[in-house]
Symmetry: D2
Subunit: 366 residues, 4 copies
Amino acid sequence: MTNTIGKIFRITSFGSSHGKALGAIVDGCPANLELSEEDIQIELNKRRPGTSALTTARKEQDQVEILSGVFEGKTDGTPITGVVYNTNQKSKDYSSLKNTPRPGHGDYCWIERYGNYDYNGGGRGSGRITIGHVIGGAIAKKLLSAKGIKIISHVVQIGDIRAKEANIESLEENITKNNVRCGDLEVAKLMEDLILSKKEEGNSVGGVVETIALGVPAGLGEPVFGKIDGDLAKVLMNINAVKGVEIGLGFGVATKTAKEINDEFYYERDDVKTKTNNSGGILGGMTNGMPIVSRIAIKPTPSISQIQETIDLNKKENTTIEIKGRHDPCICPRVTAVAESATAIVLADHMIRSGFIHPTNLEKRV
Amino acid sequence: MTNTIGKIFRITSFGSSHGKALGAIVDGCPANLELSEEDIQIELNKRRPGTSALTTARKEQDQVEILSGVFEGKTDGTPITGVVYNTNQKSKDYSSLKNTPRPGHGDYCWIERYGNYDYNGGGRGSGRITIGHVIGGAIAKKLLSAKGIKIISHVVQIGDIRAKEANIESLEENITKNNVRCGDLEVAKLMEDLILSKKEEGNSVGGVVETIALGVPAGLGEPVFGKIDGDLAKVLMNINAVKGVEIGLGFGVATKTAKEINDEFYYERDDVKTKTNNSGGILGGMTNGMPIVSRIAIKPTPSISQIQETIDLNKKENTTIEIKGRHDPCICPRVTAVAESATAIVLADHMIRSGFIHPTNLEKRV
Amino acid sequence: MTNTIGKIFRITSFGSSHGKALGAIVDGCPANLELSEEDIQIELNKRRPGTSALTTARKEQDQVEILSGVFEGKTDGTPITGVVYNTNQKSKDYSSLKNTPRPGHGDYCWIERYGNYDYNGGGRGSGRITIGHVIGGAIAKKLLSAKGIKIISHVVQIGDIRAKEANIESLEENITKNNVRCGDLEVAKLMEDLILSKKEEGNSVGGVVETIALGVPAGLGEPVFGKIDGDLAKVLMNINAVKGVEIGLGFGVATKTAKEINDEFYYERDDVKTKTNNSGGILGGMTNGMPIVSRIAIKPTPSISQIQETIDLNKKENTTIEIKGRHDPCICPRVTAVAESATAIVLADHMIRSGFIHPTNLEKRV
Amino acid sequence: MTNTIGKIFRITSFGSSHGKALGAIVDGCPANLELSEEDIQIELNKRRPGTSALTTARKEQDQVEILSGVFEGKTDGTPITGVVYNTNQKSKDYSSLKNTPRPGHGDYCWIERYGNYDYNGGGRGSGRITIGHVIGGAIAKKLLSAKGIKIISHVVQIGDIRAKEANIESLEENITKNNVRCGDLEVAKLMEDLILSKKEEGNSVGGVVETIALGVPAGLGEPVFGKIDGDLAKVLMNINAVKGVEIGLGFGVATKTAKEINDEFYYERDDVKTKTNNSGGILGGMTNGMPIVSRIAIKPTPSISQIQETIDLNKKENTTIEIKGRHDPCICPRVTAVAESATAIVLADHMIRSGFIHPTNLEKRV
């Protein structure tokens, strides 16, 4: 189950940074969803590196190919296999890393757990494996859009620089206007500068990505161990480099009283709404019809060129390491694509599980 | 699957606030673990209300009875059923709540999702259902203690009041010395005062609970969708009133550089350690042998006596609600027992899944 | 997962022959199904022993109590807990069985697997644990009946005595007219005589139970590893004493040609039918709208009073065993209730998974 | 979950008869198992068609390529992806099949369930998809062989012709000496003749395949819903064309008494054995250390060239169909490879689940 997520709409991910290929199988997608490789490619392009000075200089085309599950332009209810063949993975010599785990990376844990570890480019511990997430997420997003649901992730903080609260109307457009994928265009410039300054130092910086899901109906989520916020927390925390997950006000609730943050209900014509959305659209583990808002804390990319202390597992002694190569000085802009995908996967699964999308045939009403 | 958590060591929870009983079935616990009702009762007593002025005045004995799974004082590998019969659930009239969802509660979502909703005392949306978590957690803790693992949850923040960093040596004892279950005895007094002042206002306040797991071996966690932090995030976020989950530095990573927070490795004799523990004991989704540290943000109990605006679902019009009854002005102290249990459940499951505990018979070496 | 079956509609079973209680939790049943203890009791009574000379003389009342999941006479979407407290389990001395496994029983395997084994009355290996199946099955049958699906199990063979092919019109009534639960009333008498003659010998005899499900729509079943016949085979084979499972012609297909047994399609007005039903209503792992027909082979109850050879696990030497007590000379009549339940559980799960029953609220159309 | 089987050692299958590729992801295989494409190819060659006059004349090379999960010649604990690209799938015109379901095939059910159905060569309903089973099974067999477990499937019946009971010593060699894969060389010749005579008639014939697993330790299997026989029944019944599954005596138990078939225990030196093996190595849902014996009933391939009656779903009227192409007159010989694989997958999963194989690293003792 290690590499599978979801209950009905399920993603099974495979592949490693420097192996032959990476990808995902999407099982449980209903038939009759129009789907092309282009639908997936658009999302993969958002996470692809080498598109600006803010990301690693590695060029990876990350072209997806669909091997199964689509018939005459539509899904047919069978497993959809999307694969990206690795092409730019140079046979650079990583062997110096074999026994010297990089601080901040999982190398040591992989070795302890499995014994045999593909250390080339981080193997399956590499951020590159989120290609599988995005293949799954692209299909989930297409499915959700058929029900009027839209998901947008954007950078709201880099280091100490924070964006103003997002204007949902202009958000989607604004994030395409800057390389940080921040909705606040003034602040985006400052964020870029900060990232570039850390890059020059051979260092990296963290940040926060917010995800907003619009159009989600009330009643998704299965208390008590299948709550929608629990499932979101899991999939978001599972993204490489994430160290925290918040829903709605998140850690802000600790300093508040109920009187201050309880979202009061009211009717807007026949629709039930809440005056505020401090809950982030989730109450009792279920959606309440308001936008679902989550935030994730992303640590600075641990691969930095400065010398760090570590150990030699072979010689059983302390040593130092200097990591070479081209790394992201800040991974947050690229994580937005992954956060959208992760959120979409959970929502697609719950939309089917809750009876809002027919489990076998999208054309059947529910 | 709604009410089941875990893959090998699995908890299935049942019951509601005002029904006949609450409890849990623990499946997948290896045989030959010594287990008595007293082992579970000790943990249940930690979450039981009515033990101080900080909690609801409701008296609930919450006596557990084991219906199956223990033979001659030891588990026998069959499902362990723990049940608590409800005794103090007065037939108070909750019918005014039937169509007027309480702000901050899941009532509205339950009605939308299921149609038929037990609104008495919040039904299965009540915090009372965490009795099932604690039954499962008590067994998990017993199992983990056989492998030298200890789990401690404590309150680190109430409102704006924050505890000093915990001294792990005195922590377990200190939290028993105050009603807030805070390890910082000076600050604990201030926290108590704040909670009592909110209680007098008919209001409530939030906080943060930290959980530390000691003695966990390196190599737990299954990348990429069964990471240990992902599983912890899910089970912790699933706890009633939780709105955020952090591992290690958590949201603190956003403002840091890799140089500042990468935990450097070193040998302490033959043991691999890190100089700092900003990662909270988890790298690449796997444990690295250092203490596992998580924090959860807990919102103020939404049941407050002040008048709030809401809707009447029957008449389809706006209205107000005044919630009566005895409620917790701050749920954080009682949540510590639940956070310990939730953490223990995840760790017990992964200890078996990773080969550190034999899956069928505790006496067999692994 | 050991004791849980199903994906959406899920049964978790617990308890043992001589422990405090047995029962099951049903999770994933949609809300708004009318349900009473009487609905379950009717089914439990079918499997209850002591109702005729054909079964064990043990008297067990097997009264079910619902602890959770029903609100105001209807399910509310939360876990339904049904429990039967053991009352007639005498503290007879079973200790002679502790180290001498009974031939044909799982005693030896339980000891090998778990180390600590409740040998009293067979513990959790006892046929008595099918009370959990029937609790789950009773709820499943009630749910299916709301969609016009009916399930009937009947005895078609005892020893060498075989019933004529069932007349579906009179079947349900006929099986209530004899203690064997056979639809062929002439043959039923011969079956009774055979069973009683084996009983007198201190021996037991096997048989075959057939189950027919009527009214199942076409399109249930998830190829390739969630086929409806695969799921039926699993749940039926999991019933105590079952050694074989057939669908439709079953092993009869081995001697046939395709020309002889391919079921040809035709229209009966607007309905698609097949002229024959050799497939037992399942093609390619999915239902085709015809009656679903399965048969299971049930071995003679291994507990017999004649002396048998076995081993003493303590002394590590060969020995003999003489099993005392009141045992069923043929378990087939009582197994019919369990086969109906097992079939109902699988169909209820797939009806939800396939979009024919709304997953959260029975009143919502699908 | 549709296309995934197993709990820890898990196979996710994908692909269709005439799509780009077929294959499987194996997740949960411990690291440090030596594995090459050749290991898988050997097993695939056993099910490959075109190797004798008994199978379809279609030539399919079915060359497997490993895309992930193997590092430096050994598994590394990450998902193993095996893929077979379709090369011989001619763009023959299948469109006449689009609305006229073939009797005995799942076409009608696929259309009803999913709406969009790849009818070319049977799409995912084709027997060709068992390539995924065999990829998974080959890895499972390699893993099991490291623990001394061997699995052999052989044909024991074709039409009315039955093989003598297998001599386990010569079985493995004998089945390679004839095209039917029967261990009884005399009878094999008769079987061949029968199959060829049916081929000439444009008809096909069914049979029975037996599978024997040697070297399986006592104690595998998880009562009550994870019994080893239940899991075997599921995976075997899920194989295309299977209509019945037996363990040990199977349906033979119906005519027997307990005295006749109870397997009596004895010590052979320190080993526990049973004098007979009527139980097929499984008691109470767990292995007892004796050989595991199962049999499956396989229906005659429904694709025959004789004219059959069916319906036109478009015109909603009765019609006839004449199926062209090259089909297997008897699929049993090729099914042996699939039955071995299916059995191996279940045993590998349970060996890990029961603590006989370390879950993460094969080199670690358990």
